[in-house]
């Protein structure tokens, strides 16, 4: 009677939450089951639940790229949710891919995108459920080649033992070479080791098993060396040079169930000109490369038609910096009006243009303004190089309040380098000033509907590799909590305190994220132990078990403070120093020193800061810049709302 192929029985599917997570068959899913040309089976994994994984643009791009190749069938796999995880273990059901429902273990490649540190135990869950040995050294040709990618591979060391290869950089460029090498190795009957050794010579490929680390007595790194002479000592990131002329999924998969990103996503540019010193993405994806506006218009129309989505959103680190934004947005407004499509516009600088656009695409009364000053005082904003001034925020708010908005969201960080109590109190004071601005600019008789509301949220600052703050000391949990209390007290002292709502994040998980972010290979045993004690879905508050993390780190003889609060000297060899993400260590160090001196750096558009990324010879680095004298006035007017 069952005339379809599913890895899970009806009984199991009827028993688990949201069975649609596991049945595939979505609109635009690629099925090459009976295609004789398929030679390579590639499983693409986002190690989190379906709704999160399906919302990720990067996977959709690569899925589309792989499936354009005749000899490759790329399928998707996500972390089974905790209910199914339990059943699969009890009944020994191997993890399967959504399209074919075949076991992952029989695939040629398992690609895992690693977007945040707290998914590391889920990587082990995926490997384990698939029946793939957790460590690279225990794998044979019986097992897929496990490839990691995504932002976390810019410090892959804590999870180095679990991967055969890390692909450093943007996925569009080197997979073809890797797959051809694999086919050749298989045809020649080469060993897996010999394949990996050759793979390590393809640009961007880091084969962690072929590198050795030695440590000094204090636990820091003494040396990091390849074990074969022909292997590169530095692995350079891969990058798409022409973003208007590359792979983009015209027919993204449309999930049956509601996922986080239930819309067409238009990536308008890669990279960011701003250079905020805490931001890793801002350094990793340099230089900024814009997509041609005509190409984007075509994509938008085509993708809306192919998916039937009712909404489109723009994606980039700082959309306001896209030079053709006005043209693109006006086009979308017309197009979307004709097709009853919603537009969502994240990370826009608040100014007359964006307010005008926003009032056209959303209900002003229901929406809110977003500012991300990140720090409470101008002094600290200079330290972090966040070019958003109080004046700009207040002007933007005033403009918005006059336009009918009455809700403002503010994002800050606590625990930034050099932070003082005064900076922290600045968070409350700024929130108060925004509320006052409302009462100043909106006359009493016009204050209809919901009264003004300011929501200030703080997260805890976690220093990340390849940022000027990679040398920074992270705060302890106690310091974080104390700072959150100071913020709360300061908010309560404000005149408009009733109009301000303050939210702060958990501190526990930030500490662990801090450990993993700047961690080294010594952490692998602890991560495995934590997984084996039953931890998965650590990024989900309800499943995060802080005590298991702390106790396991201790059992492995590791002190979180070594990774978080320790002061790092300028000449320390970092675990990620063998990678080249485009910006030089000298540049980062220069920026770190400038930060401590409270000096700002101008953005790439106004003045090149010589970060090193101009070696790619593309994007913003090749653009003529305005004359020096104009630079100063221009930059003082610049500010951005979102992001």
């Amino acid at each position: 009677m069952r005339d379809y192929k599913l890895a899970l029985s009806d009984e199991i599917l009827m028993q688990v939450e949201k069975p649609a997570r596991y049945i595939g068959n979505e609109v635009n899913a690629v099925n090459k089951a009976n295609d004789p040309n398929v030679d390579i089976r590639f499983a693409m994994c986002f190690p989190d639940v379906y709704e999160i994984g399906m919302s990720h643009l990067g996977i959709q791009i690569l899925y589309d790229m792989f499936n354009q190749w005749e000899d490759v069938w790329c399928e998707r796999v996500y972390s089974p949710w905790v209910d199914l995880d339990k059943i699969m273990r009890e009944k020994n059901i191997p993890l399967f891919a959504l399209e074919s429902q075949d076991p992952i273990k029989d695939f040629d490649f398992l690609g895992i995108t690693i977007q945040y540190e707290m998914c590391y135990t889920n990587i082990l869950q995926v490997l384990d459920l698939a029946g793939i040995p957790l460590r690279t050294k225990s794998r044979t040709w019986e097992h897929p080649i496990v490839v990691g990618g995504g932002p976390c591979v810019y410090n892959p060391e804590p999870i180095a033992d679990f991967f055969d290869i890390f692909y450093i950089g943007e996925g569009e460029t080197r997979f073809r070479e890797l797959i051809d090498l694999y086919k050749e190795a298989k045809a020649n009957g080469d060993s897996r080791e010999s394949f990996l050794r050759k793979a390590a010579q393809i640009p961007g490929m880091y084969v962690p098993g072929l590198y050795e680390v030695t440590y000094k007595e204090d636990g820091t790194i003494a040396s990091f060396e390849p074990i074969f002479e022909e292997l590169p000592r530095t692995i350079h990131k891969e990058m798409v040079t022409d973003v208007s002329n590359t792979y983009y999924p015209m027919k993204p998969v449309v999930p049956f169930i509601k996922v986080t990103q239930d819309r067409v996503v238009l990536e308008i540019q890669r990279g960011c000109i701003r250079g905020c010193r805490f931001c890793q993405a801002g350094q990793l994806y340099r230089p900024v490369r814009e997509r041609d506006v005509e190409v984007l218009k075509k994509y938008a129309v085509e993708m809306l038609k192919n998916t039937g989505h009712e909404e489109i959103s723009l994606s980039s680190l700082s959309s306001s910096d896209y030079s053709q934004l006005e043209e693109l947005v006006n086009f979308l407004i017309d197009e979307c009006k004709a097709t009853s499509t919603n537009i969502s516009l994240p990370s826009l600088r608040i100014d007359a243009f964006s307010l005008d656009v926003m009032s056209k695409v959303q209900d002003v009364k229901k929406s809110s303004l977003t500012f991300a000053p990140e720090a409470g005082s101008q002094r600290l904003r200079n330290v972090i190089n966040k070019g958003l001034t109080e004046e700009v925020i207040l002007q933007g708010s005033a403009l918005a309040f006059k336009g009918g908005w009455s809700r403002v969201k503010l994002y800050f960080m606590l625990g930034l380098p050099t932070e003082t109590e005064e900076d922290i109190r600045g968070i409350a004071e700024l929130s108060n000033k925004i509320a006052s601005t409302y009462f100043e600019v909106v006359p009493k008789e016009e204050r209809k509907g919901a009264p003004v509301q300011i929501v200030a949220s703080t997260s805890f600052f976690i220093p990340k590799p390849f940022t000027p703050f990679q040398w920074a000391r992270m705060n302890t949990k106690e310091e974080f909590i104390e700072k959150a209390y100071i913020t709360r007290r300061a908010v309560m002292e404000q005149l408009n305190q009733k109009r301000i709502k303050y939210n702060w994040h958990e501190a526990d998980v930030s500490i662990i994220e801090g450990v993993l972010a700047r961690g080294d290979r010594k952490l692998a045993d602890a991560i495995e132990m934590i997984y084996k004690k039953g931890c998965i879905f650590d990024s989900w508050t309800e499943y995060y078990k802080n005590d298991v993390w702390l106790e396991s780190l201790a059992e492995c003889g590791l002190d979180p403070a070594f990774y978080t609060t320790r002061e790092r000297s300028l000449d320390e060899i970092f675990p990620w120093d063998f990678l080249d993400c485009g910006v030089t260590k000298e540049f980062l160090m220069r920026e770190w020193k400038k930060a401590l001196n409270e000096e700002v750096s101008l953005n790439c558009k106004t003045q090149c800061q010589g970060c090193g990324a101009n070696k790619y010879g593309v994007g913003i680095c090749t653009v003529d810049r305005t004359a020096k004298c104009e630079v100063v006035t221009e930059s003082s007017n610049e500010a951005e709302g979102g992001n």
Partner: protein, 233 residues
């Protein structure tokens, strides 16, 4: 113009729940390029009415939804366009134009016919034909229904319009109106307790064969499929 779409649902899509099927159709209608009517305002949505929600795990040969269109190129064109936008397992079976007086799909539902078949590996109660005959021959069929506030004692008998059985399947035509809807599983539960066995909902594959509306007059029931009240266009 309002149109009524009839579709069937088989295969893996049986695991897609009612709300997700609604979302699926909203997107499918857009993909198909149907000139559908939207509400006005900041988040416009399609004017859409589904007949009766189908349980997760059930198949169907007779699902219905109404939409409103501004323009069209005829019935067959609309069927073809929509079928071009479907996933395997969902097939557009028919589309009819509704008159101004026709009620919407949801309000029109009066009854539904279901086939119940035992899945591979599950035991069919012995002498099914006879036992079913006996069970439905009862004066009344009492069940307890758990609602949010209380437990209700309910007689299902008046809502059962037709019943047939073979050696390994049952067909039943039952009330599916909003006031008296009988879920086939509720009836099966009563049946199993009648034969003194534990009911396992996973044992049986339920297929909704058709959804009916009542066009009878003066309290006389006259059931016709939901698309019988519309016309070709």
């Amino acid at each position: 113009m309002r149109v009524r779409i009839k579709f069937s649902k088989h295969g893996v899509v049986k695991f897609i729940g009612h709300l997700d099927i609604m979302r699926y159709f909203q997107k499918a209608i857009r993909r198909a390029g149907i000139d559908v009517t939207y509400t006005t305002g900041f988040s416009p949505h399609q004017v859409m009415s589904f007949a009766a929600p189908l349980g997760v795990g059930h198949y169907s040969n007779g699902e219905y939804l109404d939409i409103e269109v501004n323009s069209h190129n005829g019935r067959q064109d609309m069927i073809d366009r929509l079928n071009g936008a479907m996933v395997p397992g969902i097939v557009i079976e028919n589309i009819v134009a509704l008159g101004d007086n026709a009620g919407n799909a949801m309000a029109s539902v009066a009854a539904a016919g279901y086939t119940l078949e035992w899945k591979d590996g599950y035991e069919v109660p012995s002498n099914l034909e006879e036992v079913v005959f006996e069970f439905f021959g009862q004066e009344c069929i009492m069940v307890t229904k758990q609602t949010k506030k209380s437990t209700l004692e309910l007689d299902l008998k008046p809502g059962i319009y037709e019943i047939e059985a073979t050696a390994d399947s049952i067909y039943m035509l039952v009330d599916a109106s909003s006031s008296g809807n009988i879920k086939p599983t509720l009836l099966l539960e009563a049946f199993y307790s009648f034969v003194g066995k534990e009911f396992d909902p996973l044992a049986i594959q339920i297929t909704r064969e058709e959804t009916y509306t009542d066009i009878g007059k003066n309290g006389k029931r006259e059931l016709v499929p939901l698309d019988a009240v519309g016309e070709d266009f």
